[in-house]
Symmetry: C2
Subunit: 232 residues, 2 copies
């Protein structure tokens, strides 16, 4: 199979930062490693690119093995390619982040990988360069969510505007004005009033919305400026 005279062939790994939202905090789905190397330590979910597998196929495989879900929203971040980043053997890691509805994934799949939801803010130290990966992923999430409606990927089918606001407040770790936020979100016309109201909560019940998926797809690449510059 080697046809180029060039000799440097290396392992290609994929590492994934899986974000979730429990209604209060941003969470990461992290692996408590029960395999070598670095057994017992925490890491991102990852895997190696296989010989007859497209890169995107590998990404979907890894996400499926972890969550039991297909068609997950994910985005490539960058490749990590320091010579010594993996002390075992030289490995290029193509790093991406994924956004999932924390309640929709398959518990058994996560258990099989020894994966746990951990608060982003109180995450443990991770192996190799995975801490840096998480930091960059969070930056990228903040960047993207300020301009495009990706936040919805973290919420259930139906959700309220206060829920959505709490999500944005978790992402940017800072409070937002309720009234301006509401106006901003509604002005996108991406939300459809389901006519129902939130049944939980001990005060006034909020309107349940769902995403206008067609419109969402159509204008996904349009800028929305959800979060202003001064905010970030």
């Amino acid at each position: 199979m080697k046809k180029y005279p060039h000799s440097t062939r290396i392992l290609v790994a994929l590492d994934c930062i899986v974000f979730g939202f429990d209604g209060e905090q941003l969470k990461l789905l992290l692996i408590k490693r029960n395999f070598e190397p670095e057994m017992g330590k925490w890491s991102l979910m990852g895997g190696f690119l296989e010989s007859n597998e497209d890169l995107e196929v590998a990404t979907n495989r890894i996400l499926y093995d972890l969550t039991g879900l297909k068609d997950i929203y994910f985005e490539e971040i960058k490749s990590f390619g320091k010579v010594d980043r993996d002390p075992v053997e030289r490995t290029l890691s193509v790093c991406f982040f994924a956004l999932i509805n924390i309640h929709a994934h398959d518990q058994d799949s996560a258990r099989a990988q020894n994966a746990y939801w951990i608060d982003l803010k109180s995450r443990p130290d991770l192996i190799f360069d995975h801490n840096e990966m998480v930091n960059i992923a969070l930056e990228r999430l903040r960047y993207k969510a300020a301009l495009h409606p990706i936040g919805f990927e973290l919420l259930p089918e139906q959700f309220t505007i206060p829920q959505l606001q709490k999500l944005y407040e978790a992402i940017y770790d800072s409070p937002l004005d309720r009234r301006n936020f509401s106006r901003k979100i509604l002005s996108t016309h991406l939300l459809i009033d389901t006519g129902e109201k939130n049944q939980y909560g001990t005060t006034k019940k909020a309107i349940l919305y769902k995403l206008d998926k067609e419109k969402y797809q159509r204008q996904f690449n349009a800028f929305h400026y959800f979060i202003s510059d001064s905010m970030r």
Copy 2:
């Protein structure tokens, strides 16, 4: 050196879309291949990752070999990982774009690589998946330039506002309002009036500005909204 039992080790290539601007059109620095495979055809500048070389080092090496320049602005775009993207042998390509001042690079370096500046609009067909790479790179350049002041990387040290506007018009392939553009650019306070004026041209001479590099670095990640949504 193989320590993981996993067996799939592949070549890692880097491919670079080099953008330039001649005052009128966006240009690409493309290679007329005088080597196999696909000798005689056009391609992006690229190279393989070496065994003891960090990924960023390899990127800088490839750009240096092509242009004779160091500290070039570049940005990773994404990895291309289809199994058959290179018919010779499986190769993962980490793709990035670079912005250079078209007049500042070393001619001999480019000649040694058989590289030529080609109008983006009238570029030839490229090998492998390089056409797709260019399309995605242009999208990314448009995205980034709408929000961040990367356009300056394509211009000489000193430049006029009409020059800058022509650059933006080339990037977005559409005309901009002169007065609104000027106001937008000046409101960033990224430009320093050099006191000099453009000596070329047959009409009123435009003010030469230079970039406030310190401010540029400091607020590079701030949003500037150079180009409005409706524009894109």
